[in-house]
């Protein structure tokens, strides 16, 4: 009943969001009408596809019965989770295809769009009414911000010099959005119902939450702003920070079942 840390899900969501982030950022960089595919395009897309594939395999280990995984798409009529699995498989197919069949504008945008939808679906999966604090658009917002932050910073490894400033601005923007989001959300919860309030208190009391705020958002932003570049080690720090944040998400979001017998 009480949500557990669920490490496989922590890694699945984070890595899949990194992969999506990469494709989104690639699409943005190459949005211009006359822009040619980047030299390292193929590599980038193989990397994204690889990361997504890996995250999907990790997600299997979360199942009590991984061999029954194929059953997981049997409830498309009502279960966002079925859609999540379906769309992530589709997404992988598209990434792989893009990587193999050449990075054409059409494929890039199709994949990026699918990635965006995938983030939305993933957000829906994690906003059940049993967690009042996140029974809203927050999970999608969290995931989107995380995807952009990880995507933008990691893209910096591959992106040509001329697009680095763009990446920097996107990253700084995403980091500030993240700071705002992750700092404001728990404070808003404090003024909500019992379970929301408990969630807020749990977040604010968690060292991991503050690790995420500081190492995963504040410090990286300072680094980028001051150094006016995205150091190659930054993605590692960001991933570590996001990891802390995601663990808090699974561990400290309070379930309504905890408060049965108490006022809402």
């Amino acid at each position: 009943m009480i949500p557990s840390m669920e490490l496989p899900l922590v890694f699945f969501t984070l890595l899949s969001q990194l992969a999506i982030g990469l494709t989104l950022l690639y699409a943005l960089r190459t949005a211009g009408p006359s822009v040619q595919p980047e030299a390292s395009a193929k590599t980038q897309w193989f990397v994204s596809a690889g990361i997504l594939a890996f995250s999907l395999i990790v997600s299997l280990t979360h199942l009590g019965h991984p061999l029954l995984a194929p059953r997981a798409v049997l409830n498309l009529s009502t279960a966002w989770l079925s859609w999540e699995i379906l769309i992530f498989i589709l997404l992988f197919a598209l990434m792989a295809a893009t990587a193999y069949l050449g990075v054409t504008r059409r494929f890039v945008w199709l994949t990026a769009a699918t990635g965006f939808i995938a983030l939305f679906v993933q957000g829906m999966v994690y906003s059940p009414s049993s967690f009042p604090a996140i029974h809203n658009v927050l999970p999608f917002a969290f995931f989107l911000v995380t995807a952009v932050i990880l995507g933008a910073s990691t893209s910096a490894w591959f992106a040509p010099q001329d697009t680095q400033p763009l990446l920097r601005w996107i990253l700084v923007g995403a980091l500030s959005a993240g700071l705002l989001l992750f700092l404001v959300a728990p404070c808003v919860w404090l003024s909500g119902g019992t379970v929301m309030r408990l969630t807020g208190l749990a977040y604010l009391a968690s060292p991991l939450y503050w690790a995420h705020i500081v190492l995963g958002l504040a410090v990286p932003m300072a680094v980028v702003v001051v150094s006016r570049r995205i150091p190659s080690w930054l993605p590692i720090l960001l991933l570590a920070g996001a990891l802390c944040g995601r663990v808090v998400f699974y561990l400290d979001t309070i379930h309504t079942g905890v408060n049965i017998g108490g006022l809402q």
């Binding site: 009943m1 009590g64 995984a69 409830n75 279960a79 079942g257 049965i260 017998g261 809402q264």
Partner: protein, 189 residues
């Protein structure tokens, strides 16, 4: 209205004796740590005395069950004939999405079988014309089986304080709230 079975939890009669909860174990021998029916004490903000009023809850066999909605493997079905929400172990892939998503914490994860499980309202007993084990064992008739199609109890409420208010799910449990006696205590010195 179509037949919809549910539980009537009469907190006025309930003495929190846990007979119902143990009757469930007696019938199904769940692994220790796994309980399908729990007797929840009302917190003092709801009933002013510590552990003196209770809600005995298992699955609420909702009209729109969250478990069934979110189960990716379609391991849940809602019976046509009586609205009982049944979890089919053999179909369960152990993703625990139902465990996370049911606001009432009815589905539980069994670490032994690595699958979810929950109260199926003793549907085998029902089909044999018997009461559910918990209802049969209640010594004060505080836990009853009701059919919402015919249920007509003026004092009954669906969302009393202490029971998560989830109108979209439309849980089939109905409640009568606990009452307070007149209390005569020595004047506090």
């Amino acid at each position: 209205m179509k037949k919809q079975l549910g539980f009537y939890v009469d907190a006025k009669r309930c003495i929190g004796c846990f007979a119902c909860a143990m009757a469930c174990k007696n019938q199904y021998h769940q692994a220790s740590g796994v309980v399908w029916r729990q007797v929840y004490p009302l917190k003092e903000e709801v009933y002013p005395h510590h552990e003196r009023a209770f809600y005995s809850l298992s699955c609420n066999h909702c009209e729109h069950p969250a478990c069934m909605e979110v189960c990716p493997a379609a391991a849940y079905t809602k019976r046509e004939q009586d609205g009982v929400v049944v979890h089919h172990q053999e179909k369960c892939i152990g993703c625990a999405n139902c465990v996370r998503s049911c606001p009432y914490g009815a589905p539980r994860f069994n670490p032994g079988t690595e699958r979810a499980e929950k109260c199926n309202l003793c549907w085998q007993r029902l089909d044999a014309g018997l009461d559910p084990a918990c209802v049969k064992s209640c010594p004060t008739n505080a836990l009853r089986l009701i059919n919402l199609a015919t249920f007509n109890e003026p004092n009954a409420v669906q969302f009393p304080p202490g029971f998560p208010h989830m109108s979209r799910l439309n849980p089939s449990t109905r409640f009568r709230q606990a009452e307070l006696p007149k209390i005569i205590k020595p004047e506090d010195k």
